[in-house]
Symmetry: C2
């Protein structure tokens, strides 16, 4: 898809959450994006985000890959993740599998951003995205940062987002006004996605700002929960990246507090959830060559099994090509379910596609095929799978969002260069 | 690939194993294939294989999917797997996720084949391949079998193979003469492959005949070992089928015995291994839309990890599209290795592509990129990955063969119909 759909059916709406201008950051933040010469085409590739208030708190989540990119290592090891005040990011080079020199370059980025932002080094997170295994020229980033200092501004979202993007077809930003008991706060967020998105944490960068006043513990709790329901639930090509990073920063500039275990925490959490799910679905919609989004939701079994089945179905190239081909071939779903649970025959699974029951008790049932072919031609398609619940277990539910596989996926990935 | 390559670099050659006419079965077997009207295009779709000697022994392996097709259930539950005398198979319909009616139809096939072959019902294995979730018309199979009786003959391999094929682009058969101390024996085998091939057991049918005299225990042992080194080691699209079946039958017609733990057992095993690896590589070569075969071999780690890493690399759509694009992008391999071992940073992996070292100690090293691009343009490409060996563990080795992902894969699977 070359643009965000008008809406996502899987993002809940709340009366207390209102879309607002996404091009201006929540109060207390400034951002910029500049061209540093890392991308060959000369487009923007160095981004910086700064929180002005010293009392800003933060939380972060990273990829679980065993091959951690240098910026992820540097951020995890040399930054204080609960008091981040700045983010420096580049696109065009992942600075991954680059050894000690890569670590040095990431540290140099961190140091330069510290000076530009006027915050301590340990308050700077570093992120990179792009080709793996090529040394990053940190001098280019440093020089670009010097120029970016004058560009930092509250409405720098468009440049910032452009500078963290790679093959993204459209910018991924959200802005929400959230009504809390003490007043209205804002949430703004920017992401990049597209290639190499998998369940298990998307290959993605996502930066979230709010002017609400949160404790670091609350920020960490809410980010963790919302990441699990968003970036951890998407699949473009079943891959896990070396560079995944999600960072939430709260400036407190609104003066409105979100107290732990309060009604406001719930309301703020719902808004953060909507923001992150929107951006996660943006990543799926912008999956390389994607034309449709599917959601598989598994009910029954236990949680681990339900998740595993959902991921296997979402990652199945046969299911993905069927989604692309507008083909309600439920046999491919049955096959993926069976493959996910080796040795568990007989399995009394059920399958519904767009609300149409196509299989019950482990076998196909009759349905209106023509109507179903119509139904799976939309841009958002729902697959529901039921599994038996083990004795004594509570029924689990697990969802994964996925893009289809089409010719464009092959073209982009076969021609993407070393 | 539309034909078998001249040779496979990964199938070892032995002085005591000589290719021989694959179109005639090993002594003691007859086969036939006929058109039963299951495939819409009227081509052959019902196959039968008969061993004439009552003393024939056998062994079998099946898919581990939790969604077992009816023929697999019937064969596992109602046949004696060590004394099979006949196989009946159909293509065009998998008879999977078809419930009790599907079981009845598979049992009907078994019964009819028993009469046609003149062997007890429990001596008949049933196999099906094709679309999942559609009821099979067993009457068609029964009627076709009546006609097939007169067609059974030692050189019926071509018809038999045609009748078990679906999207296969070329027939997959082998014939070997094997010199043992007591004389020469033959091994013949037929397979169907193509779609839905995964490591963890290929979605495939494979039937092997030999005129050697084996005990049932030896047949089971050798089939198990050779399946693990062949069909269990291939990936087209990471999928596991509902219908996978591999059956070895030994007629003893040559009078040459293969004694347990003898030199002859080793020699016979080497020949069986070459036969099954050839057919497994045929399946990869004939993977939907495949243009190249890759082999990933992981050295180091422990066996479970080495296997897991090999499968993740082989199943990665990014690696598969890079193979299609003749792109020596080792970063995608590094990424797949990292994703396979979450939380295991730092990981001092090494990568060689076609013998060219491209990464050592977890980072890229310089290499002749132009030469490597040439090297990855062949029809068989080798990727070697090294991982650190845990303290006290023996270094493991695991291999997986995989096909590339190209436009044809998408076309075939998006347009393959319900």
């Amino acid at each position: 898809m070359n643009a965000r759909p008008e809406s996502y059916r899987w993002v809940p709406q709340f009366d207390h959450v209102t879309p607002s201008d996404a091009s201006t950051l929540a109060a207390g933040f400034r951002a910029a994006g500049v061209a540093g010469g890392i991308k060959a085409d000369g487009s923007m590739d160095v981004a910086i985000l700064v929180a002005d208030a010293p009392e800003t708190v933060s939380a972060a989540r990273f990829t679980r890959s065993a091959v951690l990119a240098a910026p992820v290592q540097v951020t995890k090891e040399r930054a204080k993740l609960d008091t981040l005040r700045a983010v420096v990011a580049n696109s065009g080079n992942a600075n991954a599998a680059t050894g000690n020199r890569g670590l040095d370059e990431a540290a140099r980025m961190q140091g330069a951003a510290s000076m530009v932002a006027g915050v301590p080094v340990e308050g700077v997170a570093v992120a990179s995205t792009g080709v793996i295994g090529v040394q990053l020229d940190g001098n280019k980033v440093v020089q670009a940062l010097v120029g970016a200092r004058a560009e930092l501004r509250p409405d720098g979202v468009a440049d910032f987002t452009a500078a963290i993007s790679t093959t993204d077809a459209f910018p991924k930003t959200v802005g929400f006004d959230v009504e809390l008991t003490g007043g209205t706060v804002r949430i703004t967020a920017q992401a990049k996605g597209a290639g190499m998105i998998r369940p298990g944490f998307a290959t993605m960068l996502c930066f979230v700002q709010t002017d609400a006043k949160l404790s670091a513990e609350t920020a960490d709790l809410l980010l963790g929960v919302c990441v699990k329901r968003s970036f951890d639930r998407i699949s473009v090509d079943g891959q896990l990246s070396t560079n995944d990073t999600a960072i939430l920063m709260a400036s407190g500039a609104s003066g409105v507090e979100v107290a732990p275990e309060s009604e406001d925490e719930l309301r703020f959490g719902e808004a953060l959830d909507a923001a992150l799910r929107t951006l996660a679905l943006d990543m799926v919609a912008d999956g390389e060559g994607a034309t449709r989004i599917g959601r598989v939701v598994v009910n029954g079994a236990d949680l681990a099994e339900a998740e595993h089945v959902a991921r296997e179905v979402a990652n199945s190239p046969l299911v993905k090509t069927a989604l692309f081909g507008q083909d309600p071939n439920w046999g491919r779903i049955a096959q993926a379910v069976g493959a996910a649970l080796p040795g568990r025959h007989p399995l009394a699974f059920g399958i519904d596609i767009e609300g149409v029951a196509v299989a019950r008790g482990g076998q196909g049932i009759s349905f209106d095929e023509h109507a179903l072919i119509e139904a799976v031609g939309g841009d958002q398609v729902e697959y529901a799978i039921t599994l038996p619940v083990p004795d004594g277990a509570l029924p689990a539910e697990a969802e994964v969002f996925f893009s289809d596989f089409g010719y464009e996926y092959v073209r982009i990935n076969a021609e993407y260069t070393t």
